[in-house]
Symmetry: C2
DNA sequence: CGCTATCTTGACTTTATTCAAGGCTTGTGG
DNA sequence: CCACAAGCCTTGAATAAAGTCAAGATAGCG
């Protein structure tokens, strides 16, 4: 049922869903496999654009350094997500592995030729980009208006949902967040993502634990004890 | 030199740049002209997706209502920008006219057929979506990490740049912001856009005036007296 | 001319940051 | 195996920033 592209790991519902078998084979030939370990930088701001790459496993961060010298994370990439694209101008952000990552990289020339040949692939890329835009806008609302507690709670909810379906390409679709998971980010990185300091992140996690909403068994593990309360906390204004 | 699509107003460098004359004619036939006045709502969150529309003149806001009941503006649309697209799920945001607006609307069926026929049009839409994504991410950095003063200063700079080239489709390209312009947003809307209260926006504008950076001759007019200082203020952390 | 909207300003409160110290892990070398 | 160091995380107290509440000022508009 769910076909998987054996060479590049792209799953049926992600990229392959709207491509025929022969197109799949063509795409697979284009892809070059690559592995990263946590901390590896795939793209650095200002780099000439890489054509396109697909995250098959792991989590990456999209970040830039602000004028003040600290890092602002503007997005996360999970398995199935794309980096770059046909027209990307020189990169505006660093793209760095948060966990060990597996990638399928498409060289520019071959990728562009493939887009020209297979209109459905371009259509798919457009769809993905629009999804990414929608995510960025949802994030914007959270960052712009929510309290520290709501940001942290919302982040935990999102991460739980994403990690629960990390091997399922229909992302954003899981109804119930994973009961427990390990954060791929340090407190400092969570702060950079949420626009908060490391101390505030830590305090809010402690408060959520005190309220019985989550448990922090140690390390970067998160146990969601009360998903409804977590969701409610994410919607609070104050 | 710069061709303009007479029926829908789309300019050479915006949409028409990569389309042939015959494609242009086809696109023009698809478009239906429409006018809005300030406050008109084109799309309401939850609406079935409209196929696609192109803003020809004026400014619109993309906004949603938060759980707390106040409005969060996640983006602005200037002339040349697109609303909707081939796969848009039911709308997540309201799209409302901030000024009087002229639109070129493409009905779904015809628009999709046109995309299928003209691959370059789809390419262009992808490009636009990626630009929009980049804008959203830049915004994210500003909202997430910047002080109230930096947000307001950055907003004024952006708006000046956009309004300076409002009739030039190569947006984001102007080197020098307009020396003076009229804000298409109320203080309250600026607050919703920047994630600040109306009082804080007002205070920061007053402070920028006191510092000789801008002038506020009345109404919603903004005069930029010291563009360099404005840009510097936008980069401040504190 | 007065009404209503919007905008500005002031005093006070809440929130998150900053600065500072201490605790918990993890990994390394004795 | 233990001691120690380094990094990451937590907690507390003081500070700064933006929000809230409240009162006036200004500007449009009938």
């Amino acid at each position: 049922m769910a076909r998987t592209c054996s060479d590049c790991g792209v799953r049926d519902s992600a990229l392959c869903g709207t491509l025929s078998d022969e197109e799949l084979v063509g795409l697979a030939k284009l892809g070059v496999q690559r592995r990263l370990v946590r901390g590896d930088v795939l793209v650095r701001a200002g780099d000439p654009p890489l054509a396109c790459a697909n995250v098959q496993a792991g989590v990456m961060k999209i970040a830039s350094v602000t004028a003040a010298g600290d890092e602002a994370i503007v997005g996360l990439l999970y398995s199935g997500d794309f980096i770059g694209g046909p027209f990307a101008a020189p990169a505006e952000h660093d793209v760095t592995a948060l966990t060990d990552v597996e990638l399928c990289m498409f060289p520019r020339a071959a990728f562009e030729a493939s887009l020209a040949d297979h209109q459905r692939m371009e259509r798919l890329l457009l769809e993905r980009t629009m999804i990414e835009l929608a995510r960025a806008r949802r994030w914007l609302v959270r960052i712009g208006r929510a309290s520290a507690r709501a940001r942290v709670a919302g982040f935990l909810g999102d991460m739980g949902r994403r990690l629960a379906v990390v091997n399922d390409c229909r992302r954003d679709a899981a109804a119930v967040p994973a009961a427990s998971f390990e954060l791929p980010l340090s407190r400092s990185e969570i702060g950079d993502l949420l626009g908060l300091t490391i101390e505030t992140v830590s305090r809010q996690l402690t408060l959520l634990r005190a309220a019985g909403v989550i448990d922090l068994p140690g390390g970067r593990m998160i146990v969601v004890r009360d998903a409804a309360a977590l969701a409610a906390a994410a919607d609070e204004t104050v």
